[in-house]
């Protein structure tokens, strides 16, 4: 266990160091691809919480992401608030929205819950399209201000791709630490107990519903914050954010990377975005190849790519 822990911490530290120096060796496009990975990392961490730790597959994740993006964009455009405030507000609003949805939905069985959250995304999209006075409907909000890193107004404006990258990296590190804090807290341990055996957890007095709710709300917070970064990077938000594309990407990252593990989700964000980018060499068959890879990956290592890699890494040390 001790050596395992050291391996993990070492792995994370090494990976972070690599990410810190990466822009020095990479072109703009590759740095952009890293930003995309980091953009998906936040909502993916949230999905990992609700799916990997509370055992419920949620499609509401992208709806929270979109809600966070809209909140952040509207605040920046209407009131010129600084980025940190938009970022926090996006998370808070998404979390607050998760609450009333969770009340009926979390009582449901696995599959019904999936459908309910999917439905929520559709309803959120309908709202974004029709609440024209606020969201501008389908025209969307464009020319969303770039992130302002000041205490209130003014401050440094994030512009170049490298600055965006370091902003994304910083936010991701905070998110990863927050995630670690949540899952290693007593509440996190309860969540794991509930995932492993709900009836047992309930019988020893764990208020399963409350912890599921906590996981669901927190998943919303992560996604909302992710949406905030997204909108300030792409500078545009429209109801298409609620389309299945984003939600599916998240699922692939979490399930393909290693659900219920932190490293798996981090690795998944980079591996699957990289995969989809590498396949750009052949635009005509890109999505076919991507689909086939998904099938191969999921059957080849059902528990996710990272757990498999970890096992491969660990085996030689056992042999000696």
């Amino acid at each position: 266990m001790g050596s395992d822990m050291r391996l993990r911490i070492g792995g994370f530290a090494g990976f972070l160091a690599l990410l810190l120096v990466a822009p020095a060796f990479l072109g703009e496009y590759q740095v952009h691809a890293l930003i995309v990975s980091l953009t998906f990392l936040l909502p993916a961490l949230g999905l990992n919480l609700i799916l990997g730790y509370a055992g419920m597959l949620s499609f509401a994740q992208m709806a929270f992401f979109g809600i966070g993006a809209y909140v952040s964009a509207l605040m920046a455009m209407r009131w010129g608030t600084p980025f940190w405030l938009n970022f926090l507000a996006a998370g808070v609003v998404a979390g607050v929205v998760a609450l009333p949805l969770g009340i009926p939905a979390l009582r449901l069985r696995k599959y019904s819950f999936v459908m309910c959250t999917l439905g929520f995304a559709v309803i959120a999209q309908t709202l974004a399209k029709n609440w024209v006075s606020v969201t501008r409907g389908d025209l969307g909000l464009s020319n969303v201000p770039r992130p302002m890193l000041g205490l209130w107004s003014g401050g440094i404006e994030i512009r170049g791709i490298t600055s965006y990258y370091y902003l994304a990296l910083g936010l991701s590190v905070i998110a990863v630490l927050a995630f670690l804090a949540i899952v290693s807290s007593p509440a996190g341990r309860y969540m794991i107990a509930i995932r492993e055996d709900e009836t047992l957890a309930a019988s020893v007095g764990a208020p399963t519903w409350r912890y599921r709710m906590a996981a669901f709300v927190l998943s919303g917070v992560f996604a909302g914050c992710g949406g905030s970064f997204y909108v300030h990077y792409y500078t545009v938000i429209s109801p298409t954010i609620f389309d299945p594309y984003y939600g599916n990407t998240l699922l692939v990252i979490v399930l393909g990377g290693g659900v219920g593990t932190l490293g798996g989700v981090v690795a998944g964000s980079f591996i699957f975005v990289a995969l989809s980018e590498v396949l750009r060499v052949a635009p005509d068959i890109r999505m076919i190849a991507y689909g086939l890879l998904l099938i191969v990956v999921v059957f080849g290592c059902p528990e996710g790519l990272l757990p498999l890699l970890m096992r491969k890494l660990r085996r030689p040390t056992h042999a000696t």
Partner: protein, 394 residues
């Protein structure tokens, strides 16, 4: 909107024809080598639009290169899949720019993707030419509006919305509309512009509906429209869906009672064939139509059909095809070879396309005409071309 002028339909552009006809080496001295990255949806549900656009652009590339390219150098066309989303569009464009070294991005179709591309190309100093997105913000914020490298060679929906209302009111006495448009920025945007001009023509909207791009059942709405007594359905819609709607109008007995006005290939022969009795009297304002009498356009349609089996080109096929010729013209005229030179050349370009003279205004919006068609006796009749300047918000 400023001056509203009506003029005769421009026939084939002499400039373009001479561009093709001239020996390739004649003006070779300072031409820019064009390496164009086409960013459109190539996979997923939106691929149905990207397919037409890439067919059009590929055809133009082959034709121009067969005729000797630009200044003796062939045009390179590289494709990037945007899936119609900002994330994928930016990734595709970034790759095309920094890996493949393209000097032009042509795309996207979805407005949100195009808007996301604007800051990217601005930073990279690569020209973004758009021939399909309808969000007004794209050129409100371009040229003197800020984004120096964004150009749009596609008429605005503001113009379209206005000419339809005017033609319908003046020529047909239509004032009572029911809105049925596609639920995206194009459909919603066009209706928003229409509302701006309704009072001018003493017209009213009785009901308002928007359909998803994969909607297949319009019967409930059509039943309501029938009972409301609207004279016309104001529709800014999708071509394939138009055919479905007119079929259902036929089913519900709306033929001859309610006409269509707006845009959505109402006046294409293939659409009219579906329900001639419904489409009689339909009015359409089109940026281009395969029926366009211009010989240049006719030749394009013939070449396109020859290249892609029986597929009839749509307006995206045309605009992306024409965009390559436009870029070739600008590249030839450029003085210098850097990105600045191409941008300046585009700003100054005066190009004769199949629908009319292309010239970018200070916001890099091409001043292009809208052509009005009306279906009479089962055939689309050209009723004239209209242009107008866009009034930009300050």
């Amino acid at each position: 909107m400023g001056v509203f002028s009506r003029r005769g339909l421009l026939l084939a552009g002499g400039g373009a024809a001479s561009l093709l006809g001239l020996p390739a080496t004649a003006r070779a001295q300072s031409a820019i080598t064009l390496k164009i990255g086409l960013v459109v949806p190539l996979s997923g549900p939106s691929a149905r639009w990207g397919g037409f656009a890439s067919h059009g652009a590929e055809l133009a590339m082959k034709q121009i290169n067969a005729a000797g390219g630009v200044g003796g150098k062939p045009i390179e066309l590289l494709k990037g899949d945007s899936q119609g989303t900002p994330v994928e569009a930016v990734s595709a464009a970034r790759r095309l720019i920094s890996q493949d070294g393209v000097n032009v991005i042509l795309g996207d179709i979805a407005s949100s993707a195009t808007i996301a591309l604007q800051p990217v190309v601005e930073e990279a100093k690569v020209v973004l030419l758009n021939g399909a997105s309808s969000n007004p913000d794209i050129t409100y914020k371009a040229g003197v509006g800020g984004f120096k490298y964004t150009f749009r060679s596609y008429p605005t929906d503001e113009l379209r919305a206005r000419v339809i209302l005017q033609y319908a009111a003046e020529k047909r006495g239509i004032t009572k509309y029911a809105v049925l448009s596609v639920d995206n920025d194009y459909g919603r945007g066009a209706i928003a512009f229409s509302k701006k001009y309704l009072p001018e023509f003493k017209a009213t909207i009785l009901s308002e509906d928007y359909y998803k791009d994969d909607e297949t059942d319009f019967r409930p709405v059509l039943s309501r429209i029938k009972s409301l007594g609207a004279q016309s359905i104001l529709m800014y819609g999708l071509p394939d869906t138009t055919r479905l709607i007119v079929r259902q109008m036929l089913e519900l007995g709306l033929a001859g009672k309610v006409t269509l006005a707006g845009n959505g290939e109402f006046t294409y022969p293939d659409t009219i064939k579906v329900a001639p009795s419904v489409l009689n009297g339909a009015i359409e304002a089109a940026a281009w139509s395969p029926d366009l009498a211009s010989p240049r356009s006719q030749k394009f349609v013939a070449d396109y059909k020859a290249a892609y089996g029986t597929e009839v080109p749509n307006v995206h096929s045309y605009t992306h095809w024409e965009a390559l010729y436009l870029l070739a013209a600008a590249a030839k005229a450029a003085t210098g070879t850097g990105p600045e030179a191409l941008r300046t050349a585009l700003e100054q370009v005066d190009y004769a396309g199949a629908t009319g003279r292309v010239h970018f205004d200070s916001h890099h919006q091409a001043e292009l005409p809208m052509i009005i068609y009306e279906v009479e006796g089962g055939k689309a009749i050209e009723k004239g071309a209209f242009t107008a300047k866009v009034n930009y918000p300050t």
